[in-house]
Amino acid sequence: MAKTAQEKLDAKREKAYYKKHKKMYRTKPGDVIFNIFNYIFFSAFTLTCIFPFYYLFINTVSDNELVKRGLINFYPKGFNVDNYIALREVGDLGTSFIVTISRTLIGTALMVVASAFVGYIVTKQEMWHRSFWYRFLVITMYFNAGLIPWYLNMALLGLTKNYLAYIIPTIVAPYNIILVKTYIESIPAELEESAFIDGASYMVVFRKLIWPLSKPILATIAIFGAVGHWNSFQDSLILMQGNEKLFTLQHRLYNYLNQSSNLGTLMSQGGTAAQQAMEQALNSKVIKYTISMVSVIPIFCVYPFMQRYFEKGIMLGAVKG
């Protein structure tokens, strides 16, 4: 696009101004020192955030003998992926994976649909006692009965030792409902009105109009929901006592980390000679590292996609309901 004469003139003036006041804009020695410290500080802090994960990783892909002797500190030696293959032998890890992945997928999907739907309904002024019912849901963010009454309540509803305990309570998420509601309110009302004039019902408007238009916010809450499900630990710890098959990955990892004795004994007994040799080669430390790595990898995989939505999510969160 061609610049107008006025813009050209402005640019010229600006340049002249900077030239005239060059001294003011010159980098001072103090600034240089400040910058150096700034860069050093942020580099160091970022390193503390990356290095532990890198350290775990190189220890899981190195020669186990060297790991045992504590020789893997900065780069992998004697590359192998046997540890990851050996995880198949660690009892019950597979079921935990299935439990965690399925609850992440199902729980997040239901939560997103419910939040979108409720978020849409509560924007409708004509709903019967709308503000009361909206507050009825939102106020639950600010109080809770406490851990033990919550546990007793779940027992009352038959949700202990029950897979549904991971899904049903997470469907209604007041905070996410507020986010969606705020977002939907920013969509021009004329769109909806024209749809209603054309004879569309609430469901049709929701499906054809609101759902596609609010995808950015839905992606945001989906990501936060999925991370929450993936990291969930407390519900498994408290509700699933006595049903090991339903432990989530984090709960399983917690149990492994707390076992001081070697994990080798947890590996299935018997098997071929090669398997037994593998068992012997693996020490508990490496298995712990490998399980940790496996539970952290999915987060790292979705992380680049998540990042786009962070800022939006947290900024919308600052808007009160």
Binding site: F42, T46, N73, E126, I148, P149, L157, A318
Partner: protein, 486 residues
Amino acid sequence: MKEEITEKKGTLSSLWIVQRVIAVLVIVMAFFPIANPAKICGLVSDKISLFTSAISYNSLISDCARAFRMNWVDETTFVVTYIGAVIAVLGIAATGVGVCTSMGNNKLQRFGLKFSIIGAIAEVVGYAVCFVGYILVRDTNRVDKVAPSMPVGVFIFGGIAALILILSLVLFVKTPKALPGEKFEMESKYKLFLMFLPFAILGFLFCYLPLYGWRYAFFDYKSGGTLSSDNFVGLKWFAYLFKNSATRNDVINVMKNTLAISGLNIITSWIPMIFAVFLCEVRNMNFRRFVQAFTTIPNFISWVLVYAVALSIFSTDGFINTFAKEVGLMSQNAPGHNYLMGNSFTWVKMWGWGTWKGVGWSAIIYIAGISGIDQSLYEAATVDGAGRFQKMRHITLPGLLPTFFVLLLMAIAGILSNGLDQYLVFENAENRESIRVLDLYVYKLGIGNGSIPLSTVVGMFKSVISVVLLFAANGMSKLLRGESII
């Protein structure tokens, strides 16, 4: 003539209200264990409701494994009871559907009444089947072990179901027939409400219903026991908390830890803001993005994984020890030092982990805040000869202060809620005394020791104080800024 019609309508609508209220009452009652029609003997837990009995056969027979093995009672008895409960709950659900559709026009109302009638009949049948289960179990020869008990609930629920049936029939007769060609219709305000209703029920079940668990605080309840007038102890546990010297010392210790760790977090809550301000001084955008990307990662890692990371770095065979050995700071055979054990600086350590995990994430909101500050302010300040720090002090920080203030108030309101995960995973034999925060204490007391009433009391105090603090913070915000935070 006209008056007569309105009068007729008046009685009809009050009948409707009665029918709806009763039906809702039954639905709510189905979730409470009191008067469960499926409680046919002592083997059925006191804690399960009609609803639970119907959705989970396993809960119904959870205490019966031994009885089945010893052949005290035939399993078919319980199958019969279970079937009864399922029929009854389906009936209740049908009544619920009937109530929902009763908000529509005549055609929809008549349609719904059919549901209500069928539902009420199903309920009665279901309770009768439950009663058959009781009759079967009554004939057992091991009365002492099985302890058959008359399910009073059958009569209570059955009576109410009969009432609904009568009301529905009356309404069905009184409701005028739909005109030919009339469609199912409902006012949109009720339509929207009915769409919202399932979620309101979920919210009720998981957020309001737990408050009903506070009643455990007033009973001498042991895990697996029952609540009855025999073990009602009034405020005994509230007094016990302060009178018993052991628990009093525990509570004092726990409060000290909680307030110390929360206090450290509140005192240092400016750190994310400074982090953001300094990060925005970095002119290289790629470096800035890189830092932002990696410092937010720990926020998305669970505390269990943070602990795994901590182990890999600080434990006896972790990075610090092996590195010290490699560079010769420690002899090869020296036993490593486990930095996670030990009780020195536990509060500071916990604060450190929290800050490491959260600072990058908390900084995002401030970074967004900085990018929202008017750039011309900086330009004007530069022209006036302000240096870097002067600009920070006089432009950036004042611009961020409202955000900081809100977050600070929220932190103060949450002073008692440190969360459970972090302290649970980092707890060990040596730091037990100084890591035990309120949430961990409640967990250990209730789930670990089984002192359910006492831990409920502690939890009640925590909940009430938190809500009061929240309102106080909100009031303060209104007073100082004229804006509420909740």
